[in-house]
Symmetry: C2
Subunit: 154 residues, 2 copies
DNA sequence: GAATCAGGTTTCAAATTGCAACCAGTCTTT
DNA sequence: AAAGACTGGTTGCAATTTGAAACCTGATTC
């Protein structure tokens, strides 16, 4: 009896990630959450997305473990959607997307929103891919490998 | 006469990025390109995507400037899709997505594909968001600001 | 207690996706 | 040089997903 190799999702972490949070609205919702948005109506107002779509996305994001539902912090009977640890760790993804967009999709003087460090008020350092010993890596400096049971596959 | 504030796309770099490369297939195509895939049929085989969808995505990725079309390097009359500088700079986005997936979407012993540094054969360093002076930043250490003509907006 | 707001669900039309068939140039094989 | 296969698509159609709007229930405010 052989165990099913992939009960859910692909073997590629990129593919599997995109399956759970990889649509436009989910990432925009998460971006808003990083700005402190927690309530359904606030997400809806900020994004302008249809309510049924927002409800559906929030539901799957909760199922996937990116958001928790909690009673609202203002004591009302309503709920709040707050990022879990798993959700907060999406921060580098959103920041790298933001930095790419700032660099390649805006003209220098064009109006944009930027992310600043609270302490210094300065823009963030550009994210760079580095090897385990700190060397900066280009795409061509890396290769993919299949890892089966923690061991390299032929 | 007032200039139109946003002729195309949102003011948020995250939103604008997701508009151009933010669907599942586009990012998967780019991921494959980082693995050296260049030909239409190779993308199609690797991704299992419908040919009309692939054609449509490649077309917009070329229009957006992420890919260039070049004559095939093997001397045949066919074409190749190769990443531009702009396209190669999506690397941190793909790597951050990959690292999040590896960490949160796989059980420890589960078969997966990993990205290794050619030089050392080791996994990459986890991407971290840092301030301009190198301090590691959490989402709550940052704030968004609107930048109009290079100047902070009220 | 009436009106309003939060957080949805339902309905239906429109857009997108995916599959399969087809097609025009290339390239290889004989 | 003709036959067959491969490359890089396009076209048509069915199925799924998306989006706008109306509606609804419980909580809150007036």
């Amino acid at each position: 009896m052989v165990e099913d190799a992939s009960p859910q999702g692909s073997e590629c972490p990129v593919a599997r990630t995109l399956e759970s949070i990889g649509d436009r609205w989910s990432l925009m919702i998460i971006r808003d959450a990083f700005d402190g948005i927690r309530r359904f109506s606030e997400f809806q107002k900020s994004l302008g997305v249809a309510k049924n779509i927002l409800a559906s996305r929030l539901k799957t994001l909760v199922e996937v473990g990116v958001f928790d539902i909690r009673p609202a912090s203002d004591g009302s009977a309503y709920k709040e959607y707050v990022l879990t640890e798993k959700g907060r760790e999406i921060f580098p993804v959103v920041v790298s997307i933001r930095q790419w967009g700032e660099r390649f999709l805006f003209k220098p003087q064009e109006t944009r929103s930027v992310l600043l460090d609270n302490a210094s008020g300065q823009p963030l350092m550009p994210l760079e891919v580095r090897s385990s010993n700190g060397q900066k890596l280009e795409p061509s400096d890396c290769h993919r490998m299949r890892l089966v049971n923690g061991v390299k596959d032929a």
